[in-house]
Symmetry: C2
């Protein structure tokens, strides 16, 4: 008998624990459906079909670079001054030195996590939440402590006591997404101020992912954590041009805080990776000149889509939906046991007039096991008529689906 | 007496330990010198003055995007196939599925570190090394264990026994930069094979930062870790378009490995951040068509600069320099006690014909305290005539400088 030594270096524990995309495993089924000739309506994706403002596209076309060089690690002073000016117009008073330009909101999150948390530290996040918060937490060795918000309450913040029950000596921050992906929930000024009181009382950071700030409906106003007086040392904003100007692929975001120690520390993370992407900064700087009419049109379009989606979903028996006030997502509860199985079945076994839909099972947006199993996230990034068709397919599917 | 509670949330230990850029503290002195009207020759920077290939610049100018959308997290299949083809031409046999497109070599390093190491794990790196390896290690909670290579040996790898003496149960990888920043050292095929034996014996990964692969002089051939037979499960290459096509600001790099577990795990880190920058991928994909004549010219230019720099440096009494065979840096030992003080003095107190130079003190490229204190790194990214002038300034400065 001989013993063969398996020479194979080890993958890290962290790497093994990194979550897979909750949608990824469905992609082969969608591809197979398309190969069979079935039209798939994609209700699962966060990539808007809205066009990027022409002036941003043009700025890249007319670039005069001879060398695509590094920019400053924090982004150019000119660009950051313009960003500060954007915030000023939105009643948020920050200086360009309070801003670090990042490679998307993703990198802003990564820098924020690294700057405020060590291995084993805890961050409280109302769930359901943006699935990649799990990924950044795992990559940073940080533990997500979820506080459950419920579809019955339209995903409003749970009572203050529920947060305080979760705070331990390891807690370093509370993270919210406002308006929320995947819920579309918009936190009220009162809710933000409640959170402000909690973080001040317990010396925590309040990290607000406000990338959907412009997508707020029904004449409600967005209230930023940067607008709370006295919260200067605690408030951190994650921002991005991705959805605002429909340029997700640019990969430009910002980290904003008036806490000097926070910014100077985050800058060290930024320096290690040298520079945010130069071409994308050219497009993004130009995008800041986008006229209000662009946002008005986009907002009107999304509001119309949302209203249509809500109306259509209400016609399906047994379906529960939390009406979103912002962003372009909503969580829908279905009369099924397991939305994961249902989503796969839709792509693998079902068709209606040779069409089907792809949805995102919502369990991936929760970190509490077993919660949200019968929920899906719908992104209303399709044209109104396609949404109507897609929801009708869902309705027909639910008529015949057996758990 | 009253006790005031200082309400201030805490910065992480990791954030506090993140190294600052070794050059950054000199920047204000350089700015002040320029304000006084002194011309500063920048020998400290890794931003080449070489032009980006025209076809890469043009590809962006003629883009036909209406929406700057996400690409796949690993980069488009088309682009990765072209990258695989680039490697094939360089006698490196990889498939497009062995490649993940990253946001610069920086992100490739971050994903590699996260995929193979947990908090407290160790990575052995021959020093002096690229200063930001310290940053990525700190950000990843990983301990750098340096193995010293010496200017006397032209920075050749130390004997195999010195590596083995450093390997512990926590060691997960050896990282090399080939050709090296800041040494310009090119590892021989024999040295790479020695490293291969060590990592196979101890089940470690061999991570090779090969971003300077094209910058190899004197008709010596670059030998990649991906060319070692039997090292498939251990070899990881970090690559980047930054220097190759003089497009540092694009922020496009690659992670390459034939280890399937490694790639599928690194992909989860890539998915969490969604997509590498789209516009930069357009430029980078086009750059792959750059004709050989571009590289021949660039290489001839750098070789000429290197030769001139070496010749000029030899005329300074007490200066020791390791002749680089690749990249565009060299380490220079000066007859001073502390190169950090000297670099500041050059900018603050010295001028010759109203000119001075900025150099990078080399201590930041070592992790062993107290080593390299009398060394600087020179990047020969200036035109030949400027290099001659700059070295002459250095010579004049050393005549009058008193420690």
């Amino acid at each position: 008998m001989c013993i063969i030594k398996l020479v194979m270096p080890k993958i890290s524990q962290k790497g093994q624990h990194m979550p897979s995309s909750p949608i990824r495993k469905l992609v082969p089924f969608a591809e197979a459906a398309e190969k069979r000739g079935t039209t798939v309506f994609y209700l699962n994706i966060g990539q808007p079909d809205i066009k990027t403002p022409q002036l941003a596209l043009d700025a890249v076309r007319i670039h005069s670079l001879e060398t695509i060089a590094y920019t400053r690690s924090e982004g150019s002073e000119d660009y950051r001054k313009k960003i500060a000016n954007y915030y000023e117009k939105n009643d948020i008073h920050v200086n360009h030195n309070d801003i670090i330009v990042t490679t998307g909101g993703s990198e802003a999150l990564l820098f924020a996590f690294g700057t405020v948390m060590d291995e084993g530290d805890e961050i409280i996040i109302p769930e359901p939440f943006y699935a990649n918060y799990n990924g950044f937490s795992t990559a940073s060795g940080v533990k997500v402590v979820p506080v459950i918000s419920k579809i019955e309450d339209n995903f409003a913040l749970p009572p203050i006591q529920e947060f305080e029950n979760l705070i331990t000596s390891k807690t370093r921050a509370i993270l919210i997404c406002n308006p929320g992906n995947p819920t579309g929930y918009l936190y009220s000024e009162a809710e933000i101020k409640t959170l402000a009181e909690i973080v001040k009382k317990h010396d925590l950071f309040l990290i607000a992912d406000e990338v959907y700030r412009e997508f707020v409906y029904d004449d409600v106003k967005h209230f930023s954590v940067l607008q709370v007086t006295g919260l200067e040392e605690h408030a951190i904003v994650i921002d991005s041009v991705s959805k605002r100007y429909s340029m997700c692929g640019a990969r430009i975001g910002y980290l904003v805080s008036k806490n000097k120690s926070f910014i100077s520390t985050a800058l060290k993370f930024a320096q290690a990776r040298l520079s945010p992407p130069t071409l994308a900064q050219i497009a993004s700087e130009a995008a800041l000149e986008t006229p209000q009419s662009y946002f008005d049109e986009v907002k009107a379009e999304y509001m119309q889509r949302r209203n249509t989606l809500m109306k259509e979903l209400e016609t399906i028996p047994g379906v529960k939906v939390a009406k979103p006030n912002g962003a372009f997502y909503c969580i829908v509860e279905l009369p099924v046991k397991n939305a994961d199985d249902f989503a796969q079945w839709l792509l693998e076994k079902f068709e209606f007039n040779n069409q089907t839909v792809m949805v995102a099972p919502a369990a991936g947006f929760y970190s509490t096991p077993g919660v949200g199993l019968n929920q899906i996230r719908i992104a209303y990034v399709l044209h109104e008529q396609s949404l109507i068709t897609a929801v009708n397919i869902l309705k027909e599917a639910l008529k015949v689906y057996k758990d």
